[in-house]
Symmetry: C2
Subunit: 412 residues, 2 copies
Amino acid sequence: MPDLPTLDPIRVEQMIMALGAIGAHSGTGVWRTAYSPEWVAAQALVSDWATAAGLSPRMDAVGNLWARIDGTEGGKAIVSGSHIDTQCPGGRYDGALGVVAALAAISALTATFGRPRRPLELLSLCEEEGSRFPKAGFWGSRAITGRTTQADPEIVTDDDGAPIADAMRAIGLDPATIHTARRDDIAAFFELHIEQGPILEHANLPVAVVDAITGIRQTRVTLTGEQNHAGAFPMDLRRDPMAGFAEIAGRVIDHAHRLGRPAVTTVGRAIPWPNAPAVISRSVDFTIDARHPRPADYTLLHETHAALLAEVAARRGLTLTTDIQVDLPPTPCDPALVTLLQDISKAQGIPQLTMSSGAGHDSQQMAAVCPVVMIFVRSEGGRSHTPEEYSTIPDIMEGIRLLMVALHKRAY
Amino acid sequence: MPDLPTLDPIRVEQMIMALGAIGAHSGTGVWRTAYSPEWVAAQALVSDWATAAGLSPRMDAVGNLWARIDGTEGGKAIVSGSHIDTQCPGGRYDGALGVVAALAAISALTATFGRPRRPLELLSLCEEEGSRFPKAGFWGSRAITGRTTQADPEIVTDDDGAPIADAMRAIGLDPATIHTARRDDIAAFFELHIEQGPILEHANLPVAVVDAITGIRQTRVTLTGEQNHAGAFPMDLRRDPMAGFAEIAGRVIDHAHRLGRPAVTTVGRAIPWPNAPAVISRSVDFTIDARHPRPADYTLLHETHAALLAEVAARRGLTLTTDIQVDLPPTPCDPALVTLLQDISKAQGIPQLTMSSGAGHDSQQMAAVCPVVMIFVRSEGGRSHTPEEYSTIPDIMEGIRLLMVALHKRAY
C-alpha cells in the first residue's frame, strides 16, 4: 500500500465550526431543520467544498446532496456521509461530523492519488432527525432505497399539519419526482457518526466499529382502571392503573438491566389521567421503547413484555390496549466491511472496540440497497441531541483516518 | 322517650332535587362553586326553608348560613349541617344531603316538640371542596374555628390569581370581618354525608357511624437523574428517575394494600420530564397521598415512605426533593357521640357499621371547637365528585332518622 495522505486536523475543525455556524443556537448548539434556510445554506457550503475538492455535486429529488468523482473502471459507487439536519437545537457533531469526515477523507485521497478505480461519492443526507417532520422517518435515506411512496410528501406533515411537500417546493424541489432519488448502484456505504452514548468514554477508546444497528420497537400502552376517591376507596377494591403501570415500568426496565448490554428498555413517557394528587387514576398512557441488535433477543424482549402486560392487566382488572408505533428490526452491518474496519484498526494502530448502535441511523435504511458499516467517535459524557455534545479533534482524526483507509481500500 | 316524629321521604327527595336544580350541570350533576350566583341562590333557598320551619337564619361574615332556634334553657348549641358548594361538576348529594338532612330532622323535631331545651342550629357551610379556590382549605369551617387569618382573604386565590376577597365582596360579604365568624358556643356538631366509597355497599348496610376522620398527608416528590438517549445509554450507566419512580410508586401502593383497611396510599399525579418516548427522563415529579385515621399508624406510614424514598434515591443515584403539601392529622370523633349514635342505631333497628372516613370533611376542622361526629349514607358504586353519585331515599331516610334521634337526645 502506498503512503497514505496526512489529514489536516485544523481544516477538519474549521469545517466543523463553519457548518456549526449555520443555524448556530444557544452558544455551541445548532438548529437546522430539514429544508429550512439554514439547511439550504449548509448543503450549499458542502457543495462548494466538494467542488473545490474536485468532486461533482448534485442534489437529488428529495434534497440529498451527492458529490462524485468517477472511477477509471466504473462499477458501483463507494459512498460515505451522514445527515446535515439537527435536533432543535442539537449540537455541531451529530450528523454533520459524518459529512465533514467523508469530505476530509475523500479530498485527501483524491489530492494524493487522483481518480479512483471505482466511483467515490460524498453523501449529505437531507433529513434524519425528524425534528421538523416527526413522521418523516429517515426521509432522505428512505428515498434512496425507494421506500418512500408518491403519496408520502403530502402525508408527512410538521406539527402544524403542513405537508413536507410544501417545504420541498419552497426550496425548488419537486415532490412528484422523489422516486428518482432511488439508487441501486452503491457498492458500500460508510457512515461515521458520534457515538451518542458513554461506552467509548468508559472504555477509554477513541473509536468503535459498529457491527449492527439496534432493532427499535416503541409500543404505546394504555392501562385503564376505575377512577375513584383517593381516601374513600379501600386498596383491596381498587382497579388502579398507576399500580399496574409502576409494576410494568419497574419490571421491563429491570429485565433489560439483567439481560445486560446491549439490551435497553426505556419508559420515557407516562401520562396519568386525570393526574390529580387525590384521585385514583382512570388511565395511564405510556410508552415502552425496547431495543436489541440481535433478532432473536429482539423478539424475546418483546414477547416478554407482551406477556407481562397481559398478566399484570388481567391480575389487576385493568383494560389493556397496545399500539406499536415504531418497529425497526435489527440491522446487521456487512460482515466483510466490519472485518475490513477491524483489520485496518489493527494495522494502523487505531484502538477500537466493536459494538452495536443503540440509536437509529440512516445506515439502517441504506442497508436495504447496499452493504453498510459505521464508525463511532467517542462523545464526551455520552452526550448528544444537545448543544453540549462534543468530540475531541484527536478522536475525530482517528475516526477519519480509519474511514479514509477503508475508502482507499475499496475505491482505489 | 316520647313518640318520635315521622319523617317525610317525599319532602326530602323534593329538597334534594330543588337544591340540585340550582347549578344543574351534565344531566344529574351540579356545578355550584363558593360565592357563585348558583351558590348565593342555594343559600337563599336553604334560608327560606329554615324560615318556613320556624328557625332564624343569618349569614356569618364568611358566608356560612346558620339557622337557629333558641333553647328554653340556653347553653351551647347543638348543630348539624354540611357544605353547600360542589365539585366542577359534582353531584346532588355530596354536601347538600347533609344540609337537607339537618333541615329535615330539625323541622320534624320542632314541628312535633316545639322549642328545645338547648339551642338547635342548622349549618350550611360555604366552601369545602376547594373547587373554585383550591387553597381555601375548608374555608367556612376554618373561619368558625378562628384559624383563618386576616391576611387569608387576599392570599387565597382562584386558578386565575383572583383573591377570594374579591369574590366575597362581589356578593356583599366584608372579608375584613371574617374573624367574627368564630364560634365557641357549640356543644356538638353532627354531619351527615354520603360515604364517597364502596364500603357500605360491599357490607350491604345503609349507614355508618364515623369514629374518626383520616389523617391526610400529600407529599410532592421530585426525583432527578440524568437525561440521555434511550438507545445509546446502557442500562448499567443510567440514572433513570422513571425507574426510581416505578419502584417507589409500586412499593408505597403495595405497602398500604398489605397493611389493610383503613390504610390507603395513592399516587395520582406523575409528570416525567421531558416525557418523550425515546429519552431517558431527567426528572419525575409525583405525589404520594397517604392516609390513616390512627395517629400511630399515620406516623408509621410516613416514616416508611420517607425511608423508602431516601433508600431508592441513594441506591439509584437520584436527587430527591420532597415537599409536604397537605398534612391534616387524624381526627378522632367524640367517643361519647360515637357511642350515642351506635346506641340509637341498635335501639331504632338501623343497621350500621362503624368506620373511619378516608376523605376530609368540615367536621375535621369543627373538631377544634366542639365534639363532632359523622353519619355516612351508602353511595351507589362508591361514587362521589361526579354527576353519577347517588344514594337511595330509603338509605337517606335511615341516616336522617339516626340524626334526628341524636339531635333530640342532645337538644330536648
